[in-house]
Subunit: 340 residues, 4 copies
């Protein structure tokens, strides 16, 4: 057997203007890849790069539904419904020295929206341009109406990672659901492996929506949005089902749930974590319920998108004996290290 | 002026069987205290100490509404509606070398409940007795149906801290709302100052529901429940309003919201944090909305009680110039240090 | 046995300024009554009669928490926890030839509220004075900003009917929950019997919040509010439990649920109706689930109060053989007829 | 101009086994039709006709996602985004003398589901076969576990009516949203006109999911499901936008909203009704808010599907002067009458 880390197949993708996908499902694959392929991709920001100054209001420069462009989809050879795609994030690096955030009319957690409908006029539309110091990994904020300069650590992540959905559906890239998509969790950072259940032949994986950083809940609906240079290794777990997107870091197992109301997203993520423990670590659901109750970390991901997303995290040092997915995450970490 | 830390008034309370309160509001004060008083109290566990073995099912040994006993209430002299009570947690130490957790019929996040009504019979009722190693600050778990022994760090906290509610109401000690109460946030640990808006003369502060530790969301509805020996300093901020309970640690400002559905608890906590920044740090709400979006930590507190609780945390190093409450938290830290 | 309808005990109550209750629970009884008593009462409108012209803004003329005055409470002799109070509405008649409706800042279904918190400023505050033609039983509306005169049928009802809550609680008269309270259902009209589970000795029944009419959901939060002259017969069902308020009309059984989110109010009301059928008509829960699914009417009551209220109605002609509460509703109808 | 009612174009569609659509959007049109076309169609029941006896459990005889077959889609010539399709239901008649209803594992309002995730095992799976007396327009129920025979009026309707969604999406026929789809409202009966906003060229209209009758909320998730013979007239309103599906009967304007939580579905439907009044009847939103509050009927449609659906109904006799859509509904009623 050849060692894939020794001689990985690397596919470099730099999409042109018309090469992005705006949906999960329904878009033709940009490439067919074998499991084990390393993807070296560029992702555009959620605005398609159109918000560049504080004068560029989303309602004027963006044209729905052409927001949140996705790089992909990639057809993974051999992937079939009932399998799991493992996407390991080797690196996520901003491609610009600036990023944009905005309010968007009738979008966000602290405003009337199209769903939480009200008689209020929309909140003021505003843009903030953040400066990114990539060498020092910092994000600089300048207030609009206030005397306030602030520097936050860079913590790059992808808001949107997913596969084609089940049930013959095609979903907007703005939607998070069981297929992944726009989950907007800060946990989706370099060093993490994301597990996605395969719903259609080839899985049709894509990603986008890079954030230089984001708070938990993405309160106003828009993070520190920027283009990314991202490297992932794509692997395939045959005959392993993953009902909702899961993540694994060096330190944590992470389950997700995306639904409304937010308590349903919580319920999904917590039950998924319990069932993950029961399946791969041989404990009873009731015992797992007890340990999760006392040990889980439950940071919010987004409370602004068309579904809200919760994550449920458990420290791996607290797991029962056993390992998930045959130790694939550790193996992918090793392969990633060999790429540097 | 005398330095209260040099010679603090310490009131020691060790309630007898019939001395607990079961509500916020509606119970006569157990003591009148001056602002600055140090309370050295015992709190019983949420079961009234009745769950001691795995045979002690809540439905058999507890008698509703006599659950979640509160130590207090304390009438704080000079406290009036529109003021804020500042409760600084000097120490929270388990009083037993064991703690209990359970499932409770029709209670918890992953079960039908009286509100999320369904045709299912209740889940099995179970008890886990945790061993507490107080010297090494560890909690030992033994599974019921599985081969699983686990040791978690102790992280003692109070699930229930509050004052009498507004609007002439009396609320069960099981309820969290704007008056505090059963918020069940792990942030309520030693070293933290909790700010509570005063709704009635004397504020009528009480606390209980000690947890040796708890995960975020308190999934099954019951933490690692134990009796506590707790020391707090109670201070009064005259003419300072606090709409929802706030916490301050050495590192974070923390806002809370308690409501259903869970997204409303999120909205309340995030808006409260924004308005706290606007009031005490002089920034615009829109700029604060932007920074909170990128910088907030949003761990869940409880998703099982009669209201769900979210917290919104912002690192103090990221605050604009200014300080909240005249630096009271730092002063209380100093007073607490002098008590040791 | 004497026929109570032949010689009923009638108690007339005309409260003075300071005689109202603002809560369920926590207020001293205004009278002790025997089961079978006819109460002939005046109820003030939800504004305490203070909104009389389009210039009388709620935020200026009302003083919280002194809104939604209740007539009562009445201590019903012999009523104990586990019993059911049956309140038959003989008549509900407006006492004025006008009524008021308003918007209230941060209250209503189509606005940001204290719970559905947002950064919007409140909607404009407005008052509409409706003219009541009591002889012809009509309500006349004149628009504020539009050319629009409209006449609607009068359909008088009580928004707020309840008893003292369980769990040692005292709840604001603005809150609906398992004790009844501010359910705001148009089903609470003359000719209906309301069943309320008793939580404390004497039940402590009160009522208020008369509406000359109201749409389903009470969208803006305020109905056509007016003072009422109301006659009810109060009966007691010993050893009959009623978990959530139920109503019975000549044509329907009606269950209610009050909770957030609104789907929980729906779940409670539908499950309650199923369990009512199972208990009193001897059918299985699964068969009742099927029939309710195909036959229920589910009009909303309120989607604006601190809990939302759904009702679940089933035509009595579609019931299985059997009768509920020993036919008490029919008997109360007969007694009511004898009063005229 | 020719009178379309005098010589309407009638298109008869009797789909074969493989001719159904399972989604809105994403399916090729079965026919191109001109506005004014009369469609005379057969629709299969939601089970694809596979549940015929009480032994036919959905989990065994149905294969997801091949449930809820739709007849169509129809490409309406000249329909473009920003237009409105008007679908007038001339007749909806059951095609069988029986219908089926069932429980479905993890589906329905009174059970744990995939979204309202819990640790409960699914409720028992059961089937009820209803007998349809089409001559007398009655539905006969026989209980499974109980002594209970019941006859209910037939009230045929379509649970699922819609067009291709916006935002490049393809949605399962089980989903209700702004494009219509599986709204499951009993209001969708013969004599009604349904207005659907067009999102893609040709609109791509389809329909299915006939119910011999259904309660409000479709509590267990499954109505009295049967195949239908349905006649509709399809018209096109150019340059008229319809944000959410609307219905018009001889007596009512009806707005719908489909979302989670249920209060958002309520908010959408009520705001839509207010904005419909403001647009077509020239009244202010605030005056319409007041009248809707006092006059609206708000029966639930479904509280079981992937979005919940509310409707908001206003009696046409209570409308301000004016008419909607140039009186199209009345014209369609006349055309329908001429077809008989």
């Amino acid at each position: 057997m050849t060692d894939p880390a020794a001689d990985p197949h690397i596919l470099t993708i730099r999409p042109g203007e018309g090469d992005y996908a705006w949906t999960f499902g329904g878009a033709p694959p940009v490439a067919r890849i074998a499991p084990g392929t390393v993807l070296d991709v560029f992702t555009e920001d959620c605005f398609g790069g159109r918000v560049r100054t504080t004068e560029d209001l989303v309602s004027q420069v963006c044209e729905f539904p052409f927001v949140n462009p996705q790089t992909g989809p990639f057809y993974v050879e051999g992937a079939e419904p009932g399998d799991t795609l493992a996407v390991h994030f080797v690196s996520i690096e901003p491609r610009r020295d600036w990023a944009a955030s905005t309010t968007v009319p009738l979008f966000g957690a602290l405003t009337a929206t199209h769903a939480t409908a009200a008689l209020h006029p929309p909140l003021p539309e505003a843009v903030w341009i953040w400066q990114l110091d990539r060498a020092r990994r910092l994000c600089h904020f300048s207030a609009r109406d206030s005397e306030w300069e602030l520097t936050l650590p860079m913590d790059p992540m992808h808001g949107t990672v997913g596969v084609a959905p089940a049930n013959l559906e095609v979903r907007s890239a703005l939607v998070p659901d069981a297929h992944g998509g726009n989950m907007d969790t800060p946990e989706m950072r370099a060093g993490v492996t994301c597990y996605l259940g395969v719903n259609v032949d080839g899985a049709l994986f894509s990603l986008g929506d890079g954030h230089a950083r984001q708070g938990e809940g993405e309160t106003c609906g828009v993070a520190v949005e920027t283009a990314m240079h991202t490297v992932v290794i794509v692997e395939l777990l045959k005959h392993v089902a993953t009902p909702w997107p899961r993540l694994e870091s060096d330190t944590h197992l992470v389950s997700t749930g995306s639904a409304r109301p937010l308590e349903d997203a919580f319920r999904i993520s917590q039950l998924d974590l319990i069932q993950w423990l029961a399946r791969d670590y041989g404990v009873s659901e009731l015992d797992a319920y007890q340990v999760v109750t006392q040990a889980v970390e439950s940071p919010l991901a987004n409370v602004c998108d068309s579904n809200y997303t919760c994550v449920a995290k458990l420290r791996k040092e607290w797991l029962p004996p056993g390992r998930t997915h045959g130790g694939l995450h550790d193996e992918l970490r090793a392969r990633a290290a060999a790429l540097r």
